[in-house]
């Protein structure tokens, strides 16, 4: 299947054969199956957020960045971590490509739109703008990787201090502001995405479940934890200038 076919699956004949329909491999071809894959990759990326945040909390240790630099040295040299980088990249790629595919398919299911429509009366905004919030998070991801990941992995022998890299980048109000907006939108993406993933996996028997409370960790506390970093360094830079 080439890229064009991937994004433009036809409506008819995709399921012309019922034979072989019960094979797990054909999961990918059905609507439910594709959403399940979006949900699973999404939840995998959520587990990454937990790991990423917990490591990065070392930024707040008052030791001039020694602990954080040691941690980033470990992360860039450990073989297991380097392997997981590829798994993570696959997770991102899968979530993004499937997300685009599902969005493009869905757009074609109502060729003529309503003259008057009031979606705010029956559904949440977060649920309806997943593609928009997801796209912003993608742009954020590219900028983020370019600023921190690329110098740390491809700088050759003269590796910069990651702590210095982070503190310098976040001292720029524009850059820090971009982070705050992006993280807020990532939280908004997860506001719908986290509980929605469990619904898609069939693990949400009632409207109000434990999942909705666990979801709060992901859409509120984790983005807030990340947001604390640019705020902290912006404030530190301001304080240093003021003295």
């Amino acid at each position: 299947m080439n890229l064009s076919e991937f994004f433009h699956s036809s409506f008819v004949n995709r399921h012309s054969s019922i034979n072989g329909m019960d094979k797990p491999a054909s999961l990918y071809q059905s609507s439910v199956g594709q959403k399940v894959l979006v949900a699973l990759t999404g939840l995998f990326l959520c587990t990454f957020l937990v790991v990423h945040l917990s490591g990065n909390l070392l930024l707040f240790k008052q030791d001039g960045g020694r602990a954080f630099d040691g941690y980033s040295e470990f992360m860039s040299t450990n073989l297991g971590i380097r392997f997981m980088e590829f798994v993570l990249a696959a997770g991102f790629l899968g979530h993004i490509l499937l997300g685009i595919r599902v969005w493009m398919y869905n757009r074609r299911c109502r060729p003529e739109s309503y003259v008057m429509s009031r979606p705010s009366q029956n559904s949440s905004l977060a649920a309806r703008v997943m593609f928009v919030t997801g796209s912003v998070v993608f742009v954020f991801l590219v900028v983020h990787l370019k600023t921190f990941f690329v110098p740390s992995r491809f700088a050759g022998n003269i590796k910069p201090s990651m702590y210095r890299l982070v503190s310098t980048a976040f001292a720029d109000p524009v850059y820090a502001g971009f982070y705050l907006v992006s993280l807020a939108l990532m939280g908004y993406h997860l506001r719908h995405g986290f509980q929605s993933a469990f619904q898609t996996l069939g693990l949400r028997p009632h409207r109000r479940t434990l999942i909705d409370y666990v979801a709060m960790i992901f859409w509120l506390f984790i983005p807030a934890g990340f947001a604390a970093m640019p705020v902290y360094f912006l404030w530190a830079a301001h304080w240093a200038r003021a003295r």
Partner: protein, 245 residues
């Protein structure tokens, strides 16, 4: 009451449609929405004009025939009612009401406000039959069904197949409809025999008809005249994965 209607008029499947404005006076607040349309049509017929086509049958909220997109909402501004159960007292004197047909690729407009919903029939047909021994009537309660299970199956069976879930969904997804139909049989012992085959076939049929994928916005639940819960969609996903894996 004085009401201005803006109604979608479309000659047939292949014609271009457009909104046409009609002024109505002497509308009683006690009229149902469909009676108000009847009054409009009577006036149009007297003038020798083409009447507005709309689907309706029982007019008591149980057949699922009627279904209009009224002022941007499936079945109008009230929750838990079909279009026939909506009354003019839900509007104000002097209001302008925009009336459109369900819009979805699998629900093509036949004429004016009437859409072809035979895609739903084909999904039901794809589900097949349940295996029951025919013959003498069995004694009551020979197959025990726990009360909560019976209740849950019954709530799913309340689906009247009106298509409001598809009409309200931003993706024109039929997941709530299929979820209700799969659940009502999967929950009961009589439906267990073909449980796996049924869910696979109904989902495959749903996909091939061109309905969108579920984004879990839950707009369907909010607009369903029978207030069928999206927890049935979670059940459908569960049933599907169990059958598949």
């Amino acid at each position: 009451m004085r009401i201005t209607l803006k109604i979608w008029r479309q000659k047939d499947r292949n014609s271009e449609g457009r909104l046409v404005a009609y002024e109505l006076s002497n509308v009683s607040p006690d009229m149902s929405f469909l009676e108000m349309l009847d009054m409009l049509n009577l006036g149009l017929a007297r003038k020798g004009e083409d009447t507005v086509a709309f689907d309706h049958d029982c007019r008591e909220g149980i057949c699922g025939s009627c279904g209009l997109y009224i002022n941007g909402r499936a079945h109008g501004p009230l929750g838990g009612v079909a279009t026939c159960q909506l009354h003019m007292r839900s509007f104000r004197d002097g209001d302008t009401i925009v009336v459109e047909p369900w819009r979805a690729r699998p629900f093509p407009v036949i004429k004016d406000l009437v859409v072809d919903r035979s895609t739903f029939d084909r999904i039901i047909t794809a589900g097949g039959f349940i295996s029951v021994r025919t013959g003498g009537a069995p004694d009551a309660n020979t197959i025990p069904v726990p009360k909560p299970v019976a209740e849950e199956a019954f709530e799913a069976a309340a689906c009247i197949g009106c298509g409001a879930c598809v009409a309200a969904c931003k993706n024109a997804s039929a997941m709530l409809f299929v979820a209700a139909k799969v659940s009502q049989l999967a929950l009961l012992p009589q439906g267990h025999a073909e449980r796996k085959e049924r869910v696979l076939k109904m989902v495959a049929q749903m996909d091939s008809e061109g309905f969108g994928y579920c984004s879990n916005t839950y707009a369907c639940e909010a607009e369903c005249p029978k207030q069928i819960s999206v927890s049935y969609i979670a059940r459908l996903n569960r049933e599907y994965l169990r059958a598949k894996l």
